[in-house]
């Protein structure tokens, strides 16, 4: 199987489509950048799809080509890890609308031979999932052992179970929600307005002269980054400590460590992410409301589901709080679905799902293994 040219690191494929979108538009052709790890077994029963978060990418367990950093979930994915490259065949694709090789506003619009910019159609989480299903068709995978995701990846994972229940044996949904709350939409709007207020944004047509709205995108990232942490976490990490100085400067330099940290987060983010992609993906998240798509009753999304569910939340995550996971658990109970849920303790807020957490590893490991007997 490893000889299969479709499988491996840094893969790219163009599928003809078209992909009908929730907006009524359609997209064709579709570019997919993805990676696979491990070997697909002969019966094709060991495939796991990992869905990444808003600014994540397909480099889940391999070095990021731009930042040179280790894969974003190597704590969870690798040999002997809960998502085990020696046991599982793992697929992670750059999400539709993103900027690491899959179709998005920065890729070329075949109608104009120019980058799409804001002519790229507005997407939904369901569109992203349907695109992933097309990619899996191409890879010859009809059924997933599991679909796994945190944050926006969790929204995709839960959407997978609603859109393709017969294709998903198990779903792991971490630090996520079945809908975007008013607060989440509000924070996203701040980020989008920061990008659009940057004069270099120019209605999204900034690709030709390679002069992107980096200041706006950096501010968007800084604001968002605060929502990924917790007050206690920030206090513990930075407190009111000053950055490389003995006293306040009575100016607007980054006097405080937390300012310096956020500025660094903003500046390093613009090197690896496209501002328009940020607009499109945050929009897709804002539009997400799984109950709305099922007559306003979330349990209807899971009616008759044979999928096993495992949900995990974190006690300091105020962006996707435990109450959102519980809403899903209650709907799954109401639908009679097989569900496990646990709130884990971690000081790191929403970001906890990306960080080392032995309990999370133990739960995911046990949950996945139970689905393999």
């Amino acid at each position: 199987m490893s000889e299969d040219a479709r499988f491996g690191l840094d893969k790219h494929v163009r599928l003809l489509g078209p992909l009908p979108l929730d907006s009524g538009a359609s997209l064709a052709p579709m570019e997919f950048a993805y990676e696979t790890y491990g070997e697909l077994n002969a019966s094709k029963t060991n495939a796991i799809l990992i869905c990444h978060a808003l600014t994540g990418d397909q480099y889940v367990a391999s070095t990021h080509p731009i930042t040179g950093k280790a894969g974003w979930w190597e704590r969870m994915v690798g040999p002997g890890k809960p998502i085990d490259t020696e046991r599982h065949f793992i697929i992670c694709a750059n999400v539709l609308g993103s900027c690491l090789g899959s179709s998005g506003p920065a890729t070329i619009n075949p109608a104009t031979d120019e980058p799409w910019g804001m002519d790229f159609p507005v997407l939904t989480i369901a569109d992203m999932v349907r695109a992933q299903a097309m990619l899996l068709d191409h890879l010859g995978i009809t059924k997933l052992h599991a679909v796994i995701g945190g944050s926006m990846g969790g929204m995709q994972a839960v959407s997978w179970t609603a859109l393709y229940p017969e294709r998903v044996n198990s779903a792991v949904i971490i630090a996520s929600a079945a809908r975007h709350s008013a607060q989440n939409i509000a924070f996203h709007e701040v980020g989008r307005q920061a990008i659009m207020a940057d004069p270099r944004w120019r209605s999204g047509a900034y690709y030709a002269d390679d002069d992107p709205p980096s200041s706006g995108l950096a501010v968007a990232r800084m604001a968002a980054h605060i929502t990924y942490l917790s007050e206690a976490g920030l206090t513990e990490k930075f407190g009111r400590r000053l950055q490389d100085r003995e006293a306040k400067t009575f100016g607007f330099d980054a006097d405080f460590q937390v300012e310096s940290y956020l500025r660094h987060q903003g500046i390093s983010f613009v090197d690896r992410f496209d501002a328009n992609s940020y607009l499109y993906i945050t929009r897709a998240m804002d539009y997400f409301d799984l109950a709305e798509a099922h007559g306003g009753v979330l349990a209807n999304a899971f009616k008759g589901s044979k999928t096993r569910f495992c949900l995990i939340s974190f006690d300091t995550d105020w962006l996707y709080p435990t109450s959102e996971s519980r809403t899903m658990v209650h709907a799954l109970n109401a639908a009679g679905a097989e569900v496990s849920f646990m709130e884990l303790s971690s000081p790191f807020g929403h970001d906890s799902f990306l960080l080392e957490n032995p309990e999370m590893n133990r739960i995911v490991d046990g949950f996945l293994k139970a689905g393999e007997v």
Partner: protein, 196 residues
């Protein structure tokens, strides 16, 4: 296989194979695992303690971390053949409402609880004049989770007043089953099977 706690063993022995079971306060899932492995049951659990939930999920069991007092309301009517509440009734806020919930969700309900009218408890209170601390009730009055001290006769009265049907009753003294005669005096533990 590890040995089940005696009240859980009684429950496990008396469940029809292949049933759908909700174990409320399932701990680390020992009973659920036994029912799944030996009786082919579809077992789900509800447990408040995160360490227990993690252990149960790691065994491949479907367990939700939650509070029976608030979360049972989210389970639909008749969604299980059995609802099980083992050694938890005496810790709930409203045991009467809890019984209603059990028999709303399950067609039948197993309930096990420590008998506060056991002779050792009576002696301790009578001669010691203090709230009993026994092998069975090892905690002091101020830190015990038991907030509703129930006896076998109290429970029977509650069942009668609630017009619930009693399908089975088992009594334990130590780890051994004991007879029904004067169980309220001699049994340390009781297990009841109820139906609406």
């Amino acid at each position: 296989m590890t040995k089940l706690r005696p009240d859980l063993q009684i429950i496990a022995d008396n469940i029809v194979p292949g049933s759908r079971v909700l174990d409320i306060g399932c701990g680390d899932g020992a009973l659920m695992a036994a029912l799944r492995d030996n009786k082919g049951c579809d077992a789900r659990g509800l447990e408040i303690d995160p360490v227990n939930v993690a252990s149960a999920v790691a065994k491949g069991l479907s367990v939700v971390q939650g509070d029976a007092g608030s979360d049972l309301a989210t389970y639909p009517d008749d969604s299980f053949d059995y609802a099980i509440l083992s050694q938890t009734l005496q810790t709930t806020h409203r045991p009467d409402i809890m019984l209603e919930q059990l028999l709303r969700i399950g067609k039948q309900a197993f309930v096990s609880f420590p008998n506060f009218a056991h002779w050792r408890v009576r002696m301790s209170l009578l001669f010691g004049g203090r709230m009993p601390v026994t092998r069975l009730l090892p905690q002091s009055w101020y830190d015990t989770p038991n907030i509703h001290h129930v006896t076998i006769d109290d429970f029977r009265a509650l069942v009668r007043d609630g017009k619930l049907a009693q399908e089975g009753q088992w009594f334990l003294s130590g780890d051994k089953q004991t007879g029904r005669g004067i169980a309220n005096l001699l049994a340390e533990h009781a297990v009841f099977l109820l139906r609406r």
